[in-house]
């Protein structure tokens, strides 16, 4: 950690602060942080917390873009603070804000409860087509069958896609890109038989139909999951299901 007092070069961070006990609404706090070439925005925030203001709150864990904890708005774009390096940002102050479209709990920490409920709502586990016993052996899959869903399994739940989605901003009940990527991860799995069950959870305005294919969710995804693809594929599935529901064998 660089020494604040001896730093030759500094960078200014404008951090949106919100302390629920004392602030009626968020406001910016400005910090001069010692700059080094290899410094990430997360390290800059850690320097602030360690040496300038210990009350600053933010989430982080792995420091290597795996855990998805440190998502925040950096100069207005949703990014992971751990793999955003100060040297790659334009000169001048760096603005750091909590993720857009989420209620702010404190400083850079947002509420994740609704997102977790959405993840839970889409049956995020394999529902076997025909359950097998251990003696009957494993469920086999070809590389091509795996390629059909594999990228959707790379999601780290960082919620950057939700912060980028204006339709989620307009309608917080919208299931949103991340949960839909996870849905497609299971619906696209050749071993899975829960497609209809999941499809039934995503019809309507709060399901896939809030999406207008803005597509920025896929652009900001740090893992190239392409949630926009997951949603738009399922618009087709939802539309087919609307017309075919009367002729389905298991129609209710």
């Amino acid at each position: 950690m660089p020494d604040v007092a001896l730093a030759a070069k500094t960078v200014q961070l404008k951090v949106l602060r919100y302390r629920p006990g004392q602030d009626a609404e968020p406001s910016y706090g400005t910090f001069e942080v010692p700059y080094t070439d290899d410094m990430s925005v997360l390290q800059a925030l850690q320097t602030i917390k360690d040496e300038l203001d210990s009350s600053l709150s933010f989430r982080w864990s792995c420091r290597m873009a795996v855990c998805g904890s440190c998502g925040m708005m950096i100069n207005g774009t949703p990014k992971l603070a751990c793999n955003t390096f100060l040297r790659n940002l334009p000169k001048g102050p760096v603005t750091v804000e909590p993720l857009n479209n989420f209620p702010i709990e404190r400083d850079l920490v947002v509420s994740v409860g609704d997102f977790v409920k959405k993840i839970e709502s889409i049956y995020p586990y394999i529902i076997p087509k025909t359950p097998k016993t251990v003696e009957e052996g494993p469920y086999l899959q070809t590389p091509a069958q795996m390629a059909a869903y594999e990228s959707f399994s790379d999601c780290i739940n960082c919620m950057l896609c939700y912060a980028a989605c204006p339709q989620f901003g307009e309608n917080p009940a919208f299931i949103g890109p991340g949960a839909m990527a996870l849905l497609q991860r299971y619906n696209g799995d050749s071993r899975d038989g829960g497609q209809q069950k999941r499809l039934d959870t995503i019809h309507g305005e709060d399901g896939v139909w809030s999406c207008t294919a803005v597509g920025v969710c896929s652009e900001v995804c740090p893992k190239q999951v392409d949630p926009a693809n997951a949603i738009n594929q399922n618009k087709t599935n939802s539309a087919f299901d609307f017309f075919l529901r009367f002729v389905r064998k298991d129609a209710r």
Binding site: P20, N100, P103, E105, A148, A213
Partner: protein
């Protein structure tokens, strides 16, 4: 007692014109209006054709007017932009294409689809030029 008092920041009402991908999205969707308007022009022509020779002649007169030529140039630019961006969005709306166990990259799907669209347009222009020679 919980101190939690979540603060919801309002969404920027002008998000659709924010520079970068949001503005590109708005322009892509707006260019669809050009397609609709061009369809309306064709439909008006069809109605004039049904209404008799007088109406048809006045429609042809409108097509030859400077206003119509400017309108058609603007609509052509809009339609070309719409075709380009529509096929850029195409890979996001279709199931993943797996060929020989590997996923076909989105850029390749876009490029090939745009080439087919350009080819079809060219064939149509050639047929039209041949028919009205």
């Amino acid at each position: 007692m919980s101190e939690s008092r979540p603060y919801r920041r309002p969404i920027d009402p002008k998000w659709w014109w924010a520079p970068g991908p949001y503005r590109a999205y708005t322009l892509r969707e707006l260019s669809g209006v050009a397609v609709a308007l061009y369809g309306a022009v064709l439909f008006a022509g069809l109605i004039c054709l049904v209404s008799g020779p007088m109406a048809w002649d006045s429609f042809l007169g409108f097509l030859r007017s400077p206003v119509s030529i400017v309108l058609h140039l603007v609509l052509l630019a809009g339609v070309v932009y719409h075709v380009k961006t529509w096929f850029e969005t195409l890979p996001k709306t279709m199931p993943k294409m797996i060929v020989n166990g590997k996923q076909v990259p989105a850029t390749e799907i876009t490029r090939k689809a745009q080439m087919v669209a350009a080819g079809c347009s060219l064939v149509l222009v050639v047929i039209a030029a041949w028919a009205f020679r």
